[in-house]
């Protein structure tokens, strides 16, 4: 574990940027049509539940990484295996985001650049950051948070001024039934992006004010959930349901539709900045966690040396993960939530929490002096 401390606000910013990182770009819960924003909010509440599970784990082991206390809970051998699986999971997620990101970039601006090259330069920047440690990443996040917000405010202003918002597009909210909505939020939207907060189990121990963690976690989840819901509602309100669902990147279409005074148009750079800052923070957090986790599991003294190899592995995974973008998306919507997200985000943590509860109860009982 690195010797570092981050402040509560920094953690808030990291979680916020992490959550909206790549979720902003895709039509999140697009199947719910006009009710997409509602599905996101429901999933956010599910995210709170998951967060409480993780928070419970954190409270049992407030100064240890996930990969560390897994071994305490499940025993050294089994624990190491689970920890290693988690590292693979984080690396896989990093690779997925990287692939998403590279494909988006190529589709909308650089059709002639090879995917490998675009991904490679990006992961290079990520590795450079990861080598600097969590403190630097957190401080960078703070600056980007300000930048994002400034951009976002100007963006909202432009949308409003250009008069493209049609509230009627948002009606009827219950185009699909409430049951379907629930099903959707708890099988898809919960895992991506809200459940991914599990990586922060590897970052919580760096927080310098652990007693405020609950507020920070809930606050940042709520902020990002509302933000995402708002953007999705905006997409639908401006573009209409059909276009939003059919568009690969509704947010890009939204930005491209801005036209003011015959001068402010084609603000694609704005999309690019948003895409890259979000992707950068998300991949950096995953990579950082994979690096420290690997160092922790294999008792490696200098984690920074692992940054390059781990980054390279992520790069390779991102290339071989799927043969085409549609295959990549298909995997992401079909198999990944059930076979990957569900066990790693829900089943194993709940299982760990239950064992940890019993173990610690036993310990507590052991300390109670026997009655006379």
């Amino acid at each position: 574990m690195e010797k570092a401390k981050i402040s509560g606000f920094q953690l808030f910013v990291l979680i916020f940027l992490f959550e909206i990182g790549s979720a902003l770009l895709v039509p999140l819960a697009g199947e719910a049509k006009q009710g997409a924003w509602l599905v996101i909010l429901i999933a956010m509440i599910g995210g709170f539940l998951l967060f409480f599970v993780y928070y419970g784990l954190f409270q049992y082991y407030p100064d240890q990484l996930l990969t560390e206390y897994v071994r305490h809970i499940m025993g050294n051998f089994l624990g190491r295996i689970v920890a290693f699986l988690y590292i693979l999971y984080f690396m896989y997620l990093a690779a997925r985001v990287l692939r998403d990101f590279g494909e988006t970039l190529l589709t909308f601006a650089y059709p002639h650049v090879p995917l490998f090259f675009a991904n490679a330069v990006f992961i290079l920047v990520v590795v450079y950051t990861v080598r600097k440690g969590i403190e630097v990443l957190a401080r960078t996040g703070e600056l980007f948070f300000v930048l994002e917000n400034l951009l976002f405010m100007t963006f909202i202003l432009l949308i409003v001024v250009s008069g493209m918002i049609h509230i009627n597009n948002l009606k009827p909210v219950f185009e699909i039934s409430g049951v379907e909505m629930m099903k959707m939020s708890f099988t898809e939207t919960l895992f991506f992006p809200f459940g991914e907060i599990i990586v922060f189990l590897m970052i919580f121990p760096y927080l310098n004010e652990p007693q405020r963690l609950k507020k920070i976690g809930i606050g940042s989840l709520a902020a990002s959930g509302i933000f995402l819901a708002f953007i999705m509602a905006l997409n639908v309100a401006v573009l209409g349901v059909d276009l939003t669902i059919r568009s690969q990147y509704p947010f890009l279409s939204l930005i491209q539709s801005i036209e003011i005074a015959g001068f402010l148009e084609r603000l694609d750079v704005y999309f690019l900045v948003k895409l890259m800052i979000g992707g950068f923070i998300k991949i950096s957090v995953f990579t950082y966690v994979a690096v420290t986790g690997t160092a922790n599991v294999f008792n490696f003294k200098e984690p920074s040396r692992l940054a390059y190899p781990v980054g390279f592995v992520i790069l390779l995974i991102s290339i071989v993960i799927a043969s085409s973008y549609s295959e990549h998306i298909h995997e992401g919507l079909g198999a990944v939530p059930i076979y990957v997200h569900l066990p790693f985000q829900v089943i194993i943590p709940v299982f760990l929490l239950v064992i940890a509860y019993f173990k610690n109860r036993k310990k507590k009982q052991g300390f109670v002096p026997p009655k006379p």
């Binding site: 690195e2 010797k3 570092a4 402040s7 606000f9 920094q10 970039l105 601006a109 650089y110 650049v113 675009a118 330069v121 990006f122 920047v125 450079y128 950051t129 080598r131 600097k132 440690g133 403190e135 630097v136 990443l137 957190a138 401080r139 960078t140 703070e142 600056l143 980007f144 300000v146 015959g262 001068f263 148009e265 084609r266 603000l267 694609d268 750079v269 690019l272 900045v273 890259m276 800052i277 950068f280 200098e302 984690p303 920074s304 040396r305």
Partner: protein
């Protein structure tokens, strides 16, 4: 603490080596002064290679028994009137010395009753003696005594106090630092009239033995930072210090960065302002540039005048400087990226103009930009170093060849010339020269990134730049504070400046935390009551509404 790839083994080794070095210098044997004058003079001549600028003046005092005394000083380093009037004349004409004296008493009499100078002390070893002699003091030997008197007669020709040539301001003090440490420190003393202004001096440089003083305000400066500065200065082991730049490069936090992590200035009022925020100043004899540590990123965009002007004006200029800095970094890169990769982002009318201009240009935009930027750098470097007499030739050649001929020949597009000129002016508008140089280097990186991958490359470069800036520290203080880590209190003195009456506290990361209050409450100036439309809820007739 900083980053988790610090090579601890290496650090320990270096520290150990430093300790070894110190032991060696301590174990050098001290040589003591002999009691015979002739032996002393011989030793002196041997040691100094018989240098002719060391003047030896032998006098006789006390008729019976006759005692010889010798005065030594270095020509040019001493203050002539004080040596002739208060040293030589006093000794020659003083009635006490005409009386009968034992050689043993003579030195005491000279020091206590004869020499009418401020500082007089006796020394016994040669090392101290040489140090004083070569810094401009006069040495008095008396035959038969194995001690010498050192009379402080430092002086000589120096540059007088002039207006500083960097950090110019319209409003504010016209004084600038000189090359003399004593003068510089006195200038600060005149500004800050407090016994808490503490100064510590040391000699650095095994050969040059340069005077280096650190100054801070006790109780306002953070002790940790002061200790750190002292520790780093004491760790320096080098033969010479010729300018404060030497010190700067030897004590900065990180070496591999284009950004300065120490500030330097020629203005006493700027140093005073920094000291009052809890910073530490380092004075180096022989350099008019005083170092200020720790330095933060935002500080390089601040001018002392910001505090002299009203806050709205000052905030506007600061904001302008930030924009200017960004232009000076990304200006040409944006042009390259937009014309090469993202033509669709340029409004169509503008695009037509740019494309028409670029039609004849044989080079790709990125090469064009690099060529023009390098040409400009050549011009600037040449105009800095060459004799002033040929300056006009330069500007004519530069303006004609680059401004006109190149465009007419179709080698570069006019738009590129405009961009490069704007960037050049922008880089001069940054108040601190040291950060302007950094921007110049970083700019080339941005141009290349933009040429390879357009805005994608530029944003990547931007991310690396931000990460790099966030990873820097200056004497343990994060370089980007108070922006990151965010300190809402400190934000009032960054890209804008809060009004003077709202400057309640000193910066938390720099100043000692139990002495943060800067000004009293209710400092906001208010018009006299009952003026204006509605300022008070007093009843009519109560006030003085004349």
């Amino acid at each position: 603490m900083v980053s988790f790839f610090k090579n601890k083994g290496q650090m320990k080794k270096r520290e150990k080596q430093k300790i070894d070095d110190k032991d060696q210098s301590k174990s050098k044997k001290l040589e003591y002064i002999d009691s015979s004058i002739s032996a002393n003079l011989d030793h002196m001549k041997k040691k100094t290679g018989n240098s002719p600028d060391i003047i030896v003046r032998t006098l006789k005092i006390s008729q019976n028994p006759e005692i010889k005394t010798t005065i030594l000083y270095v020509q040019g380093l001493i203050d002539n009137p004080s040596v002739t009037d208060f040293l030589i004349e006093s000794i020659m004409k003083n009635p006490h010395l005409k009386e009968k004296l034992l050689p043993k008493e003579a030195l005491d009499v000279i020091s206590e009753e004869v020499v009418s100078l401020g500082g007089v002390e006796s020394v016994t070893d040669w090392e101290k003696l040489f140090l004083s002699l070569l810094s401009g003091d006069s040495i008095i030997f008396v035959d038969g005594i194995n001690k010498a008197l050192v009379a402080s007669t430092r002086g000589g020709e120096r540059r007088s106090i002039q207006e500083p040539s960097t950090h110019l301001t319209v409003r504010g003090s016209r004084e600038g630092f000189t090359e003399s440490n004593a003068t510089n420190i006195a200038m600060l003393r005149r500004i800050i009239n407090s016994q808490d202004l503490w100064i510590e001096s040391m000699k650095i440089g095994t050969v040059t033995k340069t005077d280096v003083s650190i100054m801070y305000i006790n109780g306002i400066a953070k002790e940790g930072i002061v200790e750190e500065v002292k520790k780093r200065l004491k760790g320096i082991n080098i033969d010479s210090i010729l300018e404060s730049g030497y010190i700067e490069q030897l004590i900065e936090d990180q070496v591999m960065t284009p950004f300065p992590t120490l500030n330097h200035t020629e203005r006493p009022d700027m140093v005073a302002g920094n000291l009052l925020e809890g910073r530490v100043a380092i004075f180096v004899n022989g350099s008019p540039f005083v170092l200020v540590a720790p330095a933060l990123f935002v500080q390089f965009f601040q001018s002392v005048e910001d505090y002299y002007n009203r806050f709205d004006i000052a905030s506007a200029t600061r904001f302008l400087r930030i924009i200017v800095f960004i232009i000076s970094i990304v200006g040409p890169a944006v042009y390259v990226a937009a014309t090469t990769f993202h033509q669709e982002m340029i409004p169509s009318k503008l695009l037509v103009i740019v494309a028409a201009q670029r039609e004849t240009v044989p080079l790709p935009a990125v090469v064009e930009a690099l060529v023009m930027e390098i040409t400009f750098e050549i011009l600037r470097e040449a105009s800095l170093r060459m004799p002033k007499v040929v300056g006009s030739t330069m500007s004519i050649v530069g303006a004609l060849v680059i401004g006109q001929a190149a465009v007419q020949a179709g080698a570069v597009s006019p738009a590129m010339v405009i961009i490069v000129s704007i960037t050049a002016i922008a880089s001069f508008a940054t108040p601190s020269y040291s950060i302007a140089i950094s921007a110049r280097i970083v700019r080339f990186g941005f141009i290349i990134c933009a040429g390879v991958l357009g805005f994608y490359g530029m944003i990547l470069a931007f991310i690396v730049l931000i990460v790099h800036l966030c990873s820097l520290r200056s004497f343990g203080v994060p370089y980007m504070s108070p922006l990151a880590p965010l300190n809402p209190e400190g934000l009032g003195d960054t890209f804008f400046r809060r009004p003077m009456w709202a400057f309640k506290e000193r910066p938390k990361l720099l100043s000692s935390n139990n002495n943060l209050i800067r000004e009293g409450d209710n400092q906001r100036p208010l018009p006299p009551e009952s003026r204006g439309m509605k300022t008070s809820d007093k009843k009519k007739g109560e006030g003085n509404e004349s």
